[in-house]
């Protein structure tokens, strides 16, 4: 993947942040992933991924409003950076290329 070192889970997290544009903070991201992927996501796993992605510069974050339910703590909203967008693009491109280059016979199982 060249200069964009992104794991599969990280990719999903980034895509989710993009999907939730404007409303992407811990809980919504967790729930969105759980809904789409039908798998359990722990706060720990998700938060480390977000943290790492931010450090790598794929995501940026800013504090939002605080609510009583959160015990008066502010939310941290995430957004994909242009650099992150480029990384996602590249991943998609690479994947597309893969699919294009698969010879059609490789997936024709009925003759095997």
């Amino acid at each position: 993947m060249g200069k964009y070192a992104i794991g599969e889970f990280e990719e999903i997290v980034m895509l989710t942040v993009a999907v939730l544009f404007g409303d992407a903070y811990g809980i919504t991201i967790k729930q969105e992933i759980e809904r789409r992927m039908s798998r359990k996501v722990s706060v720990g796993a998700m938060r480390t991924a977000l943290n790492r992605l931010e450090k790598k510069g794929f995501l940026e974050s800013k504090f939002g409003e605080a609510t009583a339910v959160r015990g008066g703590k502010r939310k941290r909203y995430f957004q994909v950076t242009p650099f992150g967008k480029r990384a996602l693009d590249q991943i998609m491109e690479t994947r597309k290329q893969y699919w294009k280059d698969i010879p059609s016979v490789a997936f024709e199982f009925k003759f095997i």
Binding site: V43, T48, A66, T67, A68, V69, R70, K73, R76
Partner: protein, 867 residues
Amino acid sequence: MSEITPKDAPKLPLKVLRWFCDPALLEDVEGDLMELYHSRKKPDSLRSKIRFTIDVFLLFRPGMIRRFQISNQLNSVAMVKNYIITAFRFALRYKSYTVINLLGLVVGLASTILILLWINDEINIDKFHTKADRIYRAYRNMHQSSGEVMTTPAIPQPLELVLENEYPEIDEVTLVGWEVESAFRFGDDVSYEMGRYTSPEFFSIFSFPFLAGDPETAMNDVSSVVITERLARKFFGDKWKEDQLALGNTFNIDNRKSFTITGVVKDPGPKSSIQFDWIIPADEYIQRNNWVESWYNGGFRMLFTLHEGADIAVVRERVEQEVNEHTNYEADERIYLQPFRDSYLNSNFENGVPSGGRIQYVRILLIVAVFILVIACINFMNLATARSNRRSKEIGIRKVMGAHRGGLRQQFFLESFLLTIASVIMAIGVVLITIPFFNGITGKTLHLDLRSIDVWIGVAGVTLVTGLFSGSYPALLLSSFKITNSLRGTIKHSRGGAYFRKGLVIFQFALSILLIIGTVIVYQQMQFVLNKNLGLDRENMVFVEMERDLARQREVYKTELQKIPEIVSVTNTSGNPLSHGRSTGGAEWEGKDPNENVEINVLNVDLDFMRTMRMEILQGRDFSVDFGSDTANYIINEVATDVMGFDDPINKRLKVWGQEGRIIGVVRNFHMDSMFEPIDPLIIRYDPNSTYVAFIKTQGNIVSALDGIEKVTRSLNPDYPFKYKFMDEEYERSYRNEMTLSTLINIFALVSIFISCLGLLGLSSYSTSQRSREIGIRKVHGASIANLVVLLSRDYAILMGLAFVIAAPLAYYVMREWLNDFAFRTELDLFIFAIAGIGVFVGGALTVGFKSYQAAMINPVNTLKDE
């Protein structure tokens, strides 16, 4: 949602999170966790709290953990390794200290674990029913004119239909009969089995799984019986299921009728307060006993389930006057509802509301467990500080080498945890060994299931608390030593430290004295109850419950029995006078206020009752054949005389169950109920045809007496196995709970004294080692050994005196509360307090004296040459 505040979430995990989490990430992570916590279905349930804790735990990963100062600068692994090595070396070098320390902790922890297992078992009884949260139990409060409220679980049977039809909130209602013994005959096998009559809903309300048969239809026919697995095995062998032997077979029960087996359920087991070996539809009983169909009688207990989400408060309010409305308020009887899950532990009623019961024993033992653990922890603290002299040089060197207080604190905490963990492992071994004995005492089937996570959570919790608590004081104290002093070996503890240590000793001994006083008083009360003159003679009294066949020939039976040489006399009665259950609210007497309503016990007897029971007639005369009409005459007890308000009750008119007669005598009060209750009023009727129990007074050889009784019984009643009970044994059996408690407290009080004395041993060796030079100099100047022992023991004598002053009033207060539950109780004797105080004092004095004597015997050369 706005009313939710951060304090709802569990505090400890939150603290842990704040401790380890990178401050830059903390705020929104904490917020997310909170939001998640509150979005759960039941935010305050244990489940959500555990989820919350797991979430925090999962956050503990690289990337989330903040940078710790120490881990950046020091190689902490090496240090920890060094701490462990040092801990081991000290443990091995000072073996006696280590043994004292371990012994105290092991005994304390093992006791605590045993008690916690017992408590866990108690509080989980009846919780296995899937509908447990929705089951309620009805009680009937009989409000007496005197203002007293008598509570009975016996509910008028017609209420069942009212609850079923008129209360939309109520799902299902069941009658549950008392446990009765019936003779079960299958072919040639016959035996007595305990069971109950219940409504068909019984199996839907309670979760007793069926091994064979259909729970829906098993109780449809009145001639059906559902039996337990135990009974199936007993009659049909272990392969009853494979060979389909049970279902469809018939039992002849009580030589009365055949019942078809329609179901086999699992044994109720020790987790159920409702015990039975067979269940027969209640209708079968009602058909034979139409008296229960009245609003004025109570023949069954009644339990019901609420619909999910229904409000019990609505039902509670409406149901209260239900009996009164159907009886035109003739007697003020109100229905009270108790959640079924509470009924096992809270079975005593006072003034119509639950006032405790076994829950008190749970609380008492919980307190005892905490006491013992605290005493063991204090030992550890005291011993660790006692060792501090030996370690002061090590601490000094460590500080010179750059150790800071935090590191030293870590070291001592680590040491206390290592010791605690070692003790816990040994304690688990001790528990595994002693649990059969413990079960023997408590009559439970406890076991330490090492595969269960709950057990490990409990053990981990106990370890954590013990380790932290016992390590806290040494860690703070030892790490505070000044470098120069500790290297010079002249650690002088501050006054505050000495007071603190003395305070701990006082506290420890106060707890022990408290336990000892408690033990002695519980024991005394038990002796009081068991030896009290009950007003009748229960010694050598055998009683036989007469079955139908036997009851028909009761006069013949009596005559035959009296021919046996070892038998003094025989009387037939309607029940055991010491645990009587038959009463009436409808007695009428001369001059009775028509609105007055009093529940009075009624006992049916034959001619020889007073003589056989050796009761005392205070006024008037006994029933006699010389007076033809005694079947219409009554004898009452002293309480009844008071209740009826007679100065001279003889010849006053009295009407019981519609039969008008006269009072011919007054009998001295005797106990009909437990010692928890005052004596109730009683009417004794002469009615030999309504007696079902033969009481047989024996003398001389009890074995040949029983032989004779068995022969006579069998010849008159060949179809039944012979069965008898002793009156005194039955009486003692009714105090089994109290006896168990008494034994348990006895044992654990001894344990606490043992641990306290271990601590004292360690502590006195601390003080003597501190004063070794002083002792040497005194000896050189001619002090005798006796002088020195007195000198060294004096301080501890004062401490124990103070402990006594603190504990005695507290014990007085607590034990008075306990004794107040008994209507008849022993006196709180100052003598007991003196005994407990002196006992502890002697134990302590021996321990300290032994150590002081050792110190005084040392040749002064050895202690003084170091200077």
